[in-house]
């Protein structure tokens, strides 16, 4: 586990975290076959349509929230995968992740193991929500309602 990563060099966390390796991909072995079968199903136009609907809904919804900065916005929605990294003014990414967790939503928060990129954008961390092919538009709607509620809680 690292402490800081900069272009100039990397420092490691104190012991014992220094020697903490990533979790081995044990779950990946038995799930490889069902995953391949799932990839075949992804060609299903209905799944693709749902994914596109989620993308449009999310891009539209996130851009409406005041003080929200979305990273990696493509020139056309077709180039975008349903994965959204953002930060919100007056709402720390860690606080948002904690609250969303209690609302039943798992998001990634922090430096995303990409400290130089965080420096590039001038932030200490971001929040990332990723939609999988099995997620529905209804779930995206629930996410947006929950995010708005969480921001309201933090801004008071």
């Amino acid at each position: 586990m690292i402490e800081t990563v900069r272009w100039s060099g990397t420092t490691y966390a104190p012991l014992p975290q220094k020697f903490e390796a990533g979790t081995q991909n044990i779950a990946g072995t038995p799930t490889l076959r069902p995953a391949l079968e799932m990839v075949k199903r992804l060609r299903d136009p209905e799944i693709l349509a749902e994914s596109n609907a989620i993308k449009s809904f999310m891009l539209n919804g996130l851009n409406k929230i005041s003080g929200l900065r979305l990273y990696g916005e493509p020139s056309s929605p077709e180039e975008k995968i349903p994965l959204f990294s953002f930060s919100v003014e007056q709402a720390h990414h860690e606080d948002l992740a904690l609250i969303l967790d209690k609302m039943g939503i798992a998001v990634r928060s922090g430096q995303m193991c990409a400290e130089p990129l965080m420096d590039r954008f001038g932030v200490t961390g971001m929040l990332r929500v990723s939609f999988a092919p099995y997620n529905t538009l209804q779930e995206a709607e629930y996410f947006m309602q929950s995010l708005e509620r969480a921001i309201k809680m933090l801004r008071g």
Partner: protein, 137 residues
């Protein structure tokens, strides 16, 4: 001044009044907003607690044999958690703090409700307070 144990009981009782975790977070957010302002010039690297996902600064002052803690964080829920810890341990003697087992934190249920990296941050905060006291005993 209330005893350390009385103070801990009070914190556990206040926190257990809320059944839902979202209400507990609302409570921590409120505590975080009410935490005494922390001077910007004290936000130095030597006061920064390592291992927290959010940045946490802890300043310790010693007066008449007692330790006084001030702290800040860029995350408001973390600030609320700090506020609980400071409320319990600030103004105590180093011996009193060093002799405590910090088990009241377990009873708050915070650790199991935080992700591993965030629980590590909480452990780092506790460890810093404990070590500061132990070094002075």
């Amino acid at each position: 001044m209330k005893s350390l144990q009385e103070c801990q009981e009070e914190v556990v009782e206040d926190f257990s009044m809320y059944d839902e975790w979202l209400d507990k977070y609302e409570y921590l957010i409120d505590l975080g907003h009410r935490l005494e302002p922390f001077p910007e010039e004290l936000k130095t690297d030597d006061r920064l607690i390592r291992g927290c996902q959010s940045r946490v600064w802890l300043d310790t002052r010693r007066e008449d044999g007692r330790l006084f803690f001030r702290a800040d964080s860029d995350a408001i829920i973390t600030k609320g958690i700090i506020s609980l810890l400071i409320g319990v341990y600030s103004g105590r003697t180093a011996a009193e703090i060093a002799a405590d087992d910090f088990s009241f934190v377990e009873r708050l249920g915070l650790r199991e409700n935080l992700s591993p990296t965030r629980a590590n941050g909480l452990a780092s905060m506790i460890e810093t307070i404990r070590r500061t006291a132990e070094n002075l005993v």
